[in-house]
């Protein structure tokens, strides 16, 4: 753990780091691939809707000696679909089986009668409508649409529209992947699945917002410095919050993994598994997309901004100049650090968060790093020497 703790510190200072933003095309590609697989899976296999959505058949049996568990096994075996079995007050069973039409219903009825040892005529078979009717679905869609609009407006105000757009794309990405996995695995979609999807929707946005909050803080006053481009600052901010992201994901995923693997293993199926699977896939996708998709997307959007373009230009020009000078007179290098100071003085925030030297260490070559590192303490001390340096 101590190594992990050190890693946190080094991530924080930007000594180590993974260059999420620069390698974004790779991750975009991975995501597009997964999403396409999910969509194809969805298109080919389709979703296996449960009785709650599609309706099915309901069989009411007279009093039997079989237990609920046995009846359920029989019903599922004979019909090949998920069955819901409830015991009624008079000792009889109510067996609901999805995707059973009239013809099949007679067949299942006969099988049930035989297995349960009751007369065929005593079993009452009827088609049953969905309990999760169209109205619930329609209202849920309306609610989602309203929520999406509101959350985009909120994010556009609290952050900016680029982040809102990126968060939305990440959200769609997560939901598509989860639904696709569902289609591929072939689990029956139950209300539990839908609730799981809604939970993911909340979580995915939550996670993205936490990451964006760090990004916003890092990028404050970015135009007043010329050391880093927006992408570099975004990357640094990502690495800074990486520990938090990993910890949160682990903490959120562990109990769900428990539900999926232990709970599911104990029962070998059922609603618990349905929910846990959608949650597990969705939470993992949500954590992944906040880091690998959402933030790089924001960086992409931002770099198109004229202001940021100008900044990137300035940064490049400056680096070029520094390099030239370094070539001309290597001994002059330390002095270069001080040259930055006027900039730093103007922007306390970026001094605060974006400063650290080898922020972009992952992508810069070694020749530059030592100089950058030497520059750091100087800045630090300046910032720390002034009580008002840090503002909240």
């Amino acid at each position: 753990m101590s190594r992990l703790g050190n890693l946190g510190a080094r991530l924080y200072r930007g000594e180590v780091g993974y260059d999420f933003v620069a390698k974004r095309m790779l991750w975009y590609g991975v995501s597009i691939l997964i999403t396409i697989t999910a969509i194809v899976g969805l298109g080919v296999r389709g979703l296996n809707m449960g009785i709650e959505f599609e309706g099915g058949a309901v069989f009411t049996t007279p009093k039997t000696s079989a237990s609920v568990q046995e009846t359920q096994e029989i019903a599922e075996e004979k019909s090949g679909h998920a069955a819901i079995v409830q015991q009624l007050g008079d000792g009889g069973m109510r067996v609901q089986i999805s995707q059973v039409d009239t013809a099949k219903s007679t067949q299942v009825k006969a099988a049930l009668a035989e297995e349960l040892g009751v007369k065929d005529a005593d079993i009452n078979a009827q088609l049953v409508g969905p309990s999760w009717g169209e109205e619930i679905a329609n209202k849920a869609w309306t609610g989602l649409a309203i929520f999406m609009v509101l959350v985009v407006i909120y994010l556009a105000i609290a952050f900016e529209w680029r982040m809102a757009a990126a968060a939305l794309i990440a959200l769609i990405h997560d939901i598509t992947i989860t639904v696709g996995v569902y289609a591929l695995v072939g689990f029956e979609v139950t209300p539990g699945t839908v609730i799981g999807l809604l939970t993911i929707l909340g979580y995915s946005l939550y996670d993205t917002v936490v990451v964006f909050d760090g990004l916003k803080e890092s990028a404050r006053g970015i135009t007043k410095q010329t050391r880093y481009t927006y992408s570099e600052i975004a990357n640094r901010s990502l690495n800074g919050t990486l520990v938090r992201s990993i910890n949160t994901t682990v903490v959120a995923l562990l109990p769900v993994a428990g539900l999926l693997f232990i709970g599911g293993g104990m029962l070998g199926g059922g609603m618990l598994n349905d929910i846990a699977l959608s949650l597990f896939v969705g939470l993992a996708a949500g954590a992944y997309s906040s880091i690998f998709i959402a933030t790089p997307l924001v960086a992409d959007f931002k770099e198109r901004d004229p202001e940021m373009k100008a900044l990137a230009k300035r940064v490049r020009a400056k680096r070029l100049k520094a390099e030239e000078r370094a070539e001309q007179d290597p001994s002059d290098a330390p002095a270069e650090g001080y040259e930055d100071r006027p900039d730093e003085d103007e922007d306390d925030e970026s001094d605060d968060d974006a400063p650290a030297t080898a922020a972009v260490g992952g992508q810069r070559d070694g020749a530059e790093s030592p100089r950058a590192q030497r520059r750091q303490p100087a800045n630090r001390s300046r910032g720390r020497g002034r009580p008002s340096g840090k503002r909240r």
């Binding site: 946190g8 510190a9 849920a140 609610g143 209300p191 939970t199 946005l205 938090r244 959120a252 618990l272």
Partner: protein, 611 residues
């Protein structure tokens, strides 16, 4: 230097963390105590986990509406029943069609079954019809209790203000008295009962004039005439009443249950455009009613209220949508010009006249039904009215108990798996955060206790039922709650890496962590709020759980975790950066707090890093 100064400031606010902790501990003790006192120590479980009652409703075919029982109407009925039984949306009741003409309603264990049965079965077709004429029910032996002639306006409820003055009131002294003060309800109903009896016995117009009405009588909200109309029990058919209807009217027996039921059927089946007859729901009074003036579907909302000003007890207030408002204004405007009894309109619910107030001026906006409501009956009626009428009439064909749809093993497996998951989470937190994990674990436990208690208490109060998806949602909420601590801890550690000591780090890390927590929880809460308002059924139940856990997250972090952190930061174990505290500056790679010359410090920091 910044750090010590900040530190001193936070020391100045030392009383605060203790107070916040005390406050929330008190709240928790109160909640837990309340839970044990009320005896509801377990959350009410949904039908998937605990089973419940299953009610089967059969659509009754009505003569003249043969094709009424079709898929569309059944689905509409399912939707309406769903909203009625789910009231606040957290009851987790399930409604579905079965076969061609049955609807199954499953309600979780522990619901008020009787109430639910009444709620699902009532058709609740509401109409406003003008009264053409009315009469005392022709019955030689009226029962003494449900008595009084109907039809009069509310005693003394004059145009909102001035409840006492009823100068132009023919009803006379008694009504005036009754309305004079808060005792009105008691006074008027007492008086009326005796009065009413006299009337029914004698059926004299004179007596009737004197009568006042304790029976449910609707009234326009702002202005309602106290005017008791001249009842004309034996009067010849007024204009506009066709002879056939007059005959029907004469035959109508509103004194017996069967008679009322028959009358109800006649009235319920009458076309909206035709006049019809009807019985009063409580008094033996019968009416000839004009064509429907305002339809119940134009009622946009209904709610129960306790009428304070006029002392009528519980009433049901209705507001109309645009169309309803216009129609209501128009019909009251016309009625107000007419002579009694034709200045009354009847509120007809499922074929029964629940009230028939008289009007003396044009009314707009709201209407209300008053009567002998208790809080419960008023709320039930309001609930039924706000979700509209069923397109069909239903009869209960079967009521039975059902066992859990998922069986206990699902819940048990879920709980065991959740517990194992939680244990692993705790191990991870201890391994990573060491001493700090103590705060995280205590906060998590605290949050779990709060969630459990509140869910248990919400069972009996608003009928909140916990189903399996909600249990899973609560498990995910662990992650979101833990995230708040993690965000905060990481901030503190970042501050320590900057070279601060613990106490300033705790105080400086907080505002930034707080903003992150608030911004992200707001998004979750927004999702919960929108879904709760817009959606129905299980989605609504989910939204409720999400909103609840999000709010609790904020409460716990603000009132528990932060104060606890502040207090523990003073302890030597944490403040000195003990290796097991999780806040060891060396381990965190903090920069040494002392600096002399820039160059020197440069070298000194470079060294440990490279080592």
């Amino acid at each position: 230097m910044a750090a010590p100064k900040k530190g001193r400031r936070s020391t100045g606010a030392q009383g605060k963390p203790g107070r916040a902790l005390l406050l929330i501990l008190l709240a928790m003790v109160a909640l837990v105590g309340g839970m044990f006192l009320s005896g509801h120590t377990k959350p009410r479980l949904g039908i998937d986990l605990a089973g419940g009652t299953s009610i089967t409703l059969e659509a009754k075919s009505q003569p003249g509406k043969k094709d009424a029982i079709n898929q569309t109407n059944m689905n509409t009925a399912v939707g309406i029943i769903e909203r009625r039984v789910n009231g606040l949306g957290v009851q987790e009741a399930e409604v579905q069609t079965q076969g061609d003409k049955h609807i199954i309603v499953n309600i979780p264990k522990g619901s008020n079954e009787k109430q639910a049965r009444e709620q699902v079965g009532t058709t609740a077709e509401l109409n406003f019809r003008p009264v053409l004429t009315y009469a005392q029910a022709e019955n030689p032996e009226p029962k003494p209790s449900p008595s009084s002639s109907g039809g009069s306006g509310k005693p003394g409820d004059k145009t909102g203000d001035e409840p006492s003055g009823t100068p132009d009131d023919k009803t006379g002294a008694e009504s005036g008295d009754a309305s004079g003060d808060e005792k009105a309800t008691a006074g008027s109903s007492d008086g009326a009962t005796t009065q009413g009896r006299a009337v029914t016995e004698g059926l004299r117009p004179a007596a009737a004039t004197d009568d006042e009405s304790p029976k449910p009588s609707g009234s326009g909200k702002q202005s309602e005439s106290p005017k008791a109309p001249e009842p004309t029990p034996s009067a010849p058919a007024p204009e506009g009443v066709p002879a056939s209807l007059q005959k029907q009217f004469e035959k109508l027996d509103c004194t017996t249950k069967e008679g009322k039921a028959d009358a109800g059927r006649i009235a319920a089946q009458a076309d909206d455009g035709d006049p019809t007859v009807g019985c009063d729901s409580e008094q033996p009074v019968k009416y000839v009613l004009g064509p429907v003036a305002v339809e119940g579907k134009n009622v946009s909302d209904a709610n129960a209220a306790l009428d304070q000003t006029r002392g009528q007890g519980w009433i049901v207030q209705m507001s109309f949508d645009g169309k309803g408002s216009d129609a209501f204004g128009k019909v009251t405007g016309e009625l107000s010009k007419k002579q009694p009894p034709q200045n009354q309109f009847a509120i007809v619910l499922d074929g029964e006249v629940v009230s028939a107030p008289s009007v003396n001026e044009r009314l707009v906006g709201d209407a209300e039904i008053s009567g002998k409501f208790t809080q419960q009956t008023a709320e039930d009626l309001a609930n039924i009215l706000s979700y509209g009428a069923l397109p069909l009439t239903f009869q209960e064909s079967d009521v039975t108990t059902v066992t859990a749809a998922l069986g206990g093993e699902q819940l048990n497996a879920g709980l065991i798996a959740g517990a194992i998951g939680l244990a692993v989470v705790i191990l991870y937190l201890i391994a990573y955060y060491r001493g700090l994990s103590l705060i995280a674990i205590v906060s998590l436990l605290f949050s779990a206790v709060l969630t459990y208690t509140i869910m248990s208490l919400l069972g009996p109060t608003i009928g909140f039922a916990l189903n399996l998806p909600a249990v899973c949602g609560a498990i995910v909420a662990i992650g979101i709650t833990a995230d708040s601590f993690i965000v905060y801890f990481e901030r503190i550690r970042d501050e320590i890496r900057e070279g601060r000591t613990l106490r300033p780090a705790v105080e400086r890390g907080w505002p930034r962590a707080r903003r992150t927590i608030l911004v992200s929880d707001f998004v979750s809460f927004l999702a919960a709020a929108v879904l709760f308002i817009v959606s129905v059924g299980k989605v609504k139940g989910f939204a409720f759980t999400l909103g609840l856990t999000t709010l609790l997250d904020v409460v716990v972090v603000f009132l528990f975790t932060k104060p606890l952190m502040t207090i523990l930061a003073r302890k030597k174990f944490f403040a000195s950066g003990h290796p097991w505290s999780g806040l060891d500056p060396v381990r965190l790679g903090a920069k040494p707090p002392l600096r002399r010359d820039r160059r020197t410090s440069t070298r000194s920091t470079d060294h440990p890093k490279e080592a």
